[in-house]
């Protein structure tokens, strides 16, 4: 059962991130995703500080607000101060991440988070933290419920707003010429990314969130030329990575979250080298014939 819950947690996260990551990738915002996943740390630290992580779900949303703050600061540096974009991103997320670490160290006694957990989480403990009904029956791990609800929110948002997402990602200018407020779509996506980062932090840490947000969508992007296919493939590759990762970690006796990231990377490399028609190896073989 332990294995199942861990893989299931990874899969839920992979599905959420795969969907959101596809849109981040297509909007050329992969590094913004990276930045957000680091920059929510102070929000998480504050949430722990105020109430302890699990007691108040509104706090999660509060923590996710730090993702919005990140995008706002980046935009401000970029557009108003006219700092170049790459630097704006780097300056912002390192500042917020450092702030988060300082908060965690300063209130070490009240915040039950350590630096390792921030980086690569404690997915192995997920099955231990169960939710019980009033009658004392276990209904599964808390993380699974949280990530499940998160996934449902994302699914609803993406399915209902499909036209808006595809339009604002593909042709922002045309969307605005139709009178559509593209900033609303932009910030909604940022909010969903922040929320996903915050709820998965505890189990997999900042880095795996980035890995899941970027790598499976990139793999899917290489293999598909339809958005729907790409989103579905992202989810498939993400879920596959969590299964492979779990067993890789079991064989090597190493970090589960790290192994999941590695598996996602392996799948990506396979696609990069061997994808039909354009793969590096495939091209090379054709060339030498």
């Amino acid at each position: 059962m332990t294995a199942f819950w861990i893989i299931f947690t990874g899969a839920l996260l992979a599905a959420s991130s795969g969907i959101l990551g596809s849109f981040l990738l297509l909007r050329k915002m992969a590094m913004i995703g990276d930045a957000i996943s680091h920059a929510v740390l102070p929000g998480i630290a504050l949430a722990y500080l105020v109430a302890g992580f699990d007691t108040n779900y509104f706090l999660l949303i509060g923590a996710a607000l730090f993702g919005m703050i990140t995008t706002l600061i980046i935009q401000w540096l970029d557009k108003r101060i006219k700092m170049q974009t790459d630097a704006s991103i780097g300056v912002t997320f390192t500042f917020l991440f450092a702030l988060g670490i300082i908060l965690i160290s300063a209130f070490a006694s009240q915040i039950d988070l350590d630096q390792e957990c921030v980086l690569y989480g404690e997915i192995a403990y997920v099955p231990l933290d169960l939710i019980y009904t009033a009658s004392g029956e276990s209904i599964g791990p808390r993380q699974v419920w949280i990530l499940g609800v998160n996934l449902i929110i994302i699914l609803i948002a993406i399915v209902a707003g499909w036209r808006g997402w595809i339009l604002s990602s593909f042709d922002e200018e045309y969307a605005r010429s139709l009178g559509i407020k593209t900033t609303i779509w932009h910030y909604s996506l940022m909010m969903l990314v922040s929320l996903t980062t915050v709820v998965s932090f505890e189990s997999v840490g900042a880095i795996l969130v980035v890995a899941f947000l970027v790598i499976p969508p990139a793999t899917a992007y290489l293999l598909s030329d339809k958005l729907k296919v790409m989103v579905v493939l992202s989810v498939v590759f993400g879920v596959l990575s969590s299964i492979m990762g779990y067993y890789l970690a079991w064989v090597l006796d190493s970090s589960i979250a790290g192994s999941m990231a590695v598996s996602a990377g392996m799948l990506f490399l396979l696609a990069l080298f061997f994808r039909p028609k354009e793969g590096i190896v495939v091209k090379w073989i054709k060339f030498s014939k």
Partner: protein, 433 residues
């Protein structure tokens, strides 16, 4: 902590403190220096990817050699840093993925490998693992003199190469195409610059850790760029900011010992950015605001002067005293602003106060004629040369009259053939010399 302790720290009286401060200052300066090039090449986030990608190299070097000899670890770091850069290049050149995605992929994949290796080593290796995770979070507080000597040596190597190849590096950063056309061996210099970057990052992560390394590379350069457009000064400031951050960062974490040094260094860097963004001359917010206020003031007082002229124009009574209320009939603003404009003009000796009213001085008359002249010249130019309907030109002239320099005025007069009458049939005042 007593104030004596603080002073001891600031003067570096304690040997351990001296080592920590020296170490972080050297690392901060070196990383900032190579960062200035990453910044100019708009590749600062590659530094972030490299910082994460070094982890597997270090752990593998440790697993293979069984020792924590910094030299071995550094070689491992260089190799995996290089692999990461190659992966990024392969992705960008061989697929439809763009640079930012490639960076994020390399970063999270290599870091994942690093974490797997690190945890594998922790669980399976005989060797003593403690100390390897300092690469994750930095270990500034425990630097000893051996470390510092090593850092100093590497920093000297870095500075040496950069000073020798400075011009080539600047050239490939600014205009790669041009460098190629000049017959420069661009590939070699890029390789060298990347190697130096990896080296500096491998050093730097020992001070601030992997995640925050990006700050050491990016933030000093981004702050310095606010202050200057000159290359030499930019690089100098960048290094200075890196060193200041090292110094005060270690100081801050010294005052709160349970705190890690890295985040404090980053906080100091962020603070430097904030100061730069607000106070830098030209680009800073304060300076921009001041410019804006100055412009608004110029507009206000010139409009007040014009108002004197307009009211008195038909009866040739430009020098007659006027009350703010009268002046505002033309200006259509708040009385308060009219009075403010008048008092500024009074200071410039262009108006004098007569009871509750004001009158133009000789200087003020000249000035008011000049502005009306510019306004009407511009209106005429718009109608004559830009074929704009006279009913639309006033708006534009209201703004442009304030920026016409004497040289432009001269040109206008010439192109319009020394005109007398504006498109609305008013006379264009002549400047008496």
């Amino acid at each position: 902590m007593s104030s004596k302790d603080l002073i001891d720290f600031l003067l570096l009286r304690d040997y351990n403190v001296l080592m920590v401060v020296l170490g972080t200052v050297i690392l901060g300066g070196s990383a900032a220096l190579v960062g200035s090039f990453s910044f100019l090449r708009k590749q600062s986030l590659i530094g972030d990817a490299i910082a994460h990608s070094i982890l597997p190299g270090i752990v593998l070097a440790f697993l293979i050699s069984g020792s924590k000899n910094p030299l071995f670890l550094m070689i491992g770091a260089l190799i995996s840093g290089w692999l990461s850069i190659s992966l990024i290049n392969a992705i960008v050149n061989r697929s439809k993925l763009k640079t930012d995605a490639a960076i994020a992929i390399a970063l999270s994949f290599f870091f994942g490998v690093g974490i797997v290796l690190l945890t594998y080593a922790q669980h399976n290796s005989e060797g003593n693992m403690t100390g390897l995770d300092q690469y994750l979070f930095g270990k500034a507080a425990s630097m000893n003199s051996l470390d510092v000597q090593l850092f100093a040596l590497m920093a000297i190597v870095l500075f040496f190469f950069i000073i020798i190849f400075k011009r080539a590096f600047i050239l490939i950063s600014f205009d790669r195409e041009f460098a190629i056309s000049k017959g420069l061996n661009v590939r070699f210099y890029e390789w060298l610059l990347s190697s130096l970057t990896i080296l500096a990052i491998a050093l730097g992560i020992q001070a601030v850790g992997m995640i925050l390394m990006a700050a050491l590379i990016i933030t000093p350069a981004a702050s310095a760029r606010q202050w200057t457009n000159k290359m030499g000064l930019f690089m100098g400031l960048t290094v200075l900011f890196g060193m200041i951050a090292g110094y005060f960062g270690s100081f801050l974490s010294y005052t709160a010992p349970q705190m890690p040094t890295g985040p404090w260094i980053v906080m100091v860097l962020s603070f430097i950015t904030l100061i730069s963004v607000i106070f830098a001359p030209e680009k800073g917010i304060v300076s921009r605001q001041r410019k804006k206020r100055k412009n608004q003031q110029k507009i206000l007082i010139e409009n007040v002067l014009k108002s004197f002229y307009h009211i008195g124009e038909t009866k040739k009574e430009i020098d007659v005293k006027r009350s703010p209320l009268e002046l505002n009939v033309k200006l259509q603003t708040e009385i308060k602003r009219v009075i403010k404009g008048l008092s500024i003009l009074e200071r410039k000796k262009q108006v004098v106060r007569v009871g509750e009213s004001w009158a133009l001085t000789t200087e003020g008359i000249t000035e008011s004629r000049r502005i009306v002249r510019l306004h009407r010249l511009w209106e005429l130019y718009l109608t004559k040369k830009m074929l704009i309907d006279p009913s639309f030109v006033h708006h534009d002239a209201e703004a442009i009259e304030h920026v016409i320099t004497p040289e432009i005025e001269f040109q206008l007069t010439k192109e319009l053939d020394n005109p007398e009458i504006d498109p609305h049939h008013s006379r264009i005042p002549k400047i008496r010399t």
